[in-house]
């Protein structure tokens, strides 16, 4: 099977791909993905534990020991979950997807994958060490003028380089496939993968520039820094990263779920259009994280409301497509009445239940996001716990639970094992505990945020101020949610490694739904990535040049570094 990835003439390679598809996974490719997924879930467990520590502290139930600082814990939680967990899982998943749908990774690409992993591990070691030593309690956003140890930023450079290697690997593999399949459409899942790696690569330009600007400042070679500029560059990446996970989750909704419930892809062209729109419109959304920032004038902020809302559009298309798929499949199975199809869906199958919950949670989560992106409404919730509630819904449920849903078939597929009914049941329990935990936690975060409780603030009663005391009941619920979540976290950790090493041997298929019969042919312009990338760059230019030039040429005096912890 190792020969499959050798350069082959087109006709031969398709035959080989078919054989490959039947025989299951390429061992060497699987190993890479499994290692990435393992790292992801180790980070998940550690990050979850830190999350519990925070939750208990904020509820006033747990005082941190003197050698541990709340902001250090918060930095660890953010970095582990946002940077390490989400990114390594996304990459592992899409590399498995490329391996499966493109007939194996090229040996060269697999090598790049391991090298990328090496770079990322080096990066994480730098970052983690500085955080543990207490020299980098700057939160995962590392906003200047807070200044961490310079080695923290050096670690970030390694992380970015690792990500770039993975992106190049993906592009090389896809180009190779297209050479051997002239005129064909890239398989849908791989198409999502291209979108994700284009975003990862181009979206990281801004943060790379930022880090390269911070490093001389952190080493003391330059005295001051332009704070607005760094924040803007950060969010051009930060926001993109959010949509990268989202696209990863959505890809499984479009491609895997219909197969698992016995349906077909709703509409291939629509799915591809969602990818294109998400890629082209994405990066400029970064400004909605800076609605309250001074130094950006109202005109620009006004323009960006539209930029930001436009990203809601592909999400609506997705919601429509998903529910249409469910209804069609349900009706095919003989469901009657307006909502009869809801009942025939396989609710007891965790591979369906988890992503379904993820989708449903995206309804309130998305609505919250649309509210927040409006300047006046954001004034009320900015930097309060509301925001934390918002992203524990979007990221902590929609994305995380989708990823967990992927685990139940991807990990057994890669490790040549099967999901037993017992594991399935445990999975259902895990999903329900996690969901309940998040309802408690994110729910109370939303409410207490509206009541004014700030985010990123360790426990304090502000000298027994009445308002601050009024937050306590909600913060208590937050802690209850956190406790449920840590149970879910440990269960998930167990499930992942059980499926990897202990579950009974067997073959698990990679679920890829087929197109509806007689579906319209997908137009070929969807494959014109050069056009989409240039269009995306042009939109980025349109959105960023005016504010960036203003920030640079009208800059106030720069800021010296601060160490706030």
């Amino acid at each position: 099977m190792a020969t499959i990835t050798k350069e082959t003439v087109p006709s031969q390679s398709t035959v080989k791909e078919k054989i490959h598809g039947m025989l299951g996974v390429n061992r060497q490719d699987a190993k890479l993905s499994l290692v990435l997924i393992s790292i992801a879930f180790i980070a998940f467990l550690l990050g979850g534990i830190l999350g519990l520590v925070q939750g208990l502290n904020r509820a006033g139930l747990f005082e941190l020991p003197s050698w541990l600082n709340y902001y250090q814990v918060l930095t660890g939680h953010g970095v582990l979950l946002v940077l390490v967990f989400s990114t390594t899982f996304t990459i592992g998943y899409f590399y498995a997807a490329f391996s499966h749908t493109l007939g194996g990774l090229l040996p060269k690409v697999r090598k790049m994958g391991w090298a990328g992993l090496g770079l990322m591990v080096i990066g994480v070691v730098f970052v983690a060490t500085t955080i543990i030593m207490g020299d980098a309690s700057v939160m995962y956003t590392f906003y200047p003028p807070m200044q961490a140890s310079p080695w923290f930023y050096v670690g970030l450079v390694f992380l970015v380089l690792g990500i770039w290697l993975y992106a190049f690997g993906a592009f090389i593999n896809v180009a190779h496939w297209r050479k051997n399949h002239r005129g064909e459409h890239l398989p849908l899942l791989a198409y999502f993968g291209v979108g994700v790696f284009v975003l990862l690569f181009i979206g990281s330009f801004g943060v790379t520039a930022e880090v390269l600007y911070i490093i001389p400042w952190a080493f003391g070679w330059i005295d001051t820094i332009n704070v607005m500029l760094t924040r803007t560059l950060f969010w051009s990446f930060g926001h993109t990263l959010v949509n990268i996970w989202y696209l990863a989750a959505v890809s499984s909704w479009y491609v895997a779920i219909p197969k698992l419930i016995g349906g077909k892809v709703f509409n291939d062209s629509l799915a591809r259009l969602v990818v294109i729109l998400s890629v082209v419109l994405n990066i400029t959304g970064g400004f909605h994280h800076q609605i309250i920032d001074p130094g950006i004038n109202e005109g620009i902020k006004f323009m960006h409301v539209f930029m930001s809302l436009s990203i809601g559009f592909p999400s609506m298309m997705t919601a429509f497509a998903m529910f249409a798929t469910f209804e069609r499949t349900g009706r095919k199975k003989g469901a009657k009445g307006l909502l009869g199809w809801v009942k025939v869906l396989p609710w007891g199958d965790v591979r369906f239940l988890a992503p379904m919950i993820a989708m449903i949670s995206f309804i309130p989560a998305g609505a919250g996001g649309i509210a927040q992106t409006n300047n006046q409404l954001d004034q009320v919730v900015h930097n309060t716990m509301w925001i934390v509630g918002h992203f524990h819904l979007t990221l902590g449920v929609s994305v995380v639970v989708s990823f967990c849903g992927i685990v139940y078939w991807l990990v057994p597929h890669l490790s040549k094992r099967v999901l037993t009914p017992k594991m399935n049941k445990l999975g259902v329990i895990q999903t329900l505990i996690w969901t309940l935990g998040m309802i408690f936690m994110a729910g109370s975060m939303h409410i207490v945020g509206l009541a004014g409780s700030p985010r990123r603030t360790s426990y304090t009663t502000y000298g027994d101020n009445a308002t601050a005391l009024g937050w306590d009941p909600y913060l208590f619920f937050l802690a209850i949610g956190g406790t449920l979540l840590i149970i879910g976290c440990v269960l998930m950790f167990y499930i992942v490694f059980h499926l990897m090493f202990k579950a009974p041997k067997g073959e698990t298929a990679f679920p890829i739904a087929e197109q509806e019969e007689g579906a319209h042919a997908t137009p070929y312009w969807t494959e014109r990535w050069t056009v989409w990338i240039i269009l995306m760059l042009a939109i980025v230019a349109m959105a960023y040049v005016i504010p960036l030039v203003d920030m640079i040429f009208n800059a106030p005096p720069g800021s010296p570094p601060f160490r706030t912890w």
């Binding site: 180009a175 297209r178 050479k179 002239r182 005129g183 005109g299 070929y524 494959e527 050069t530 056009v531 240039i534 760059l537 042009a538 230019a541 349109m542 040049v545 005016i546 030039v549 203003d550 040429f553 009208n554």
Partner: protein
């Protein structure tokens, strides 16, 4: 016909005085948003106009070259700082902007594009890359204010965004030259 209606809606929207004055209040948006959108209006009108006046397009723009030359002249004209200034100060010039960009730039560009051979398409791309690049460098480096209506910093901003636009064109050109499409399609 549908396209023409969308075009008309966009056209009217852009002409609305509050929209026009908002767009013109920022130099970069004036040149890089309002003007291109007016060209897009022309794109949207083209199929309708071709249907209504088929002979005209065949007679005057058989191979697409006259059309593209007209497009180039109009674009270069609107890149002159002086032209932007006058559009703000003189009603007639403003009117000319709203007519010339859709009808003398947008319409001929779309009509010509499908008629032109590879050479002329490349010439158009190179022309756009060069003009944007030059105008970008000019605006960035000029030490004096070129427009009466816009401050130095706005001018610099426009310079940078023109330069970035030129780079986008350049990237597209390079990708098109280096990627052999026949290998993939």
């Amino acid at each position: 016909m549908k396209q023409a209606i969308y075009g008309l809606i966009l056209y009217v929207f852009l002409i609305l005085p509050p929209v026009a004055s908002l767009a013109e209040s920022v130099m970069t948006i004036h040149m890089h948003m309002q003007m291109p959108l007016l060209v897009v209006v022309g794109f949207l009108f083209t199929p309708f106009l071709k249907q209504t006046f088929p002979n005209f397009f065949v007679q005057w723009n058989a191979k697409g070259v006259p059309g593209i030359l007209l497009f180039m002249v109009i674009t270069v004209y609107w890149m002159l700082p002086r032209a932007m200034d006058e559009a703000l100060n003189i009603r007639a010039i403003e009117t000319f902007k709203f007519i010339s960009l859709p009808f003398f730039a947008g319409v001929p560009l779309r009509d010509s594009w499908s008629k032109m051979n590879r050479l002329w398409k490349s010439i158009t791309f190179i022309f756009l890359t060069l003009t944007y690049g030059m105008i970008g460098i000019l605006y960035i480096l000029t030490p004096i204010q070129l427009c009466n209506n816009y401050l130095m910093l706005e001018q610099k901003t426009l310079g940078w965004s023109s330069l970035v636009t030129a780079l986008c064109f350049l990237a597209y050109l390079i990708l098109n030259v280096t990627i052999d499409k026949s290998k993939y399609e």
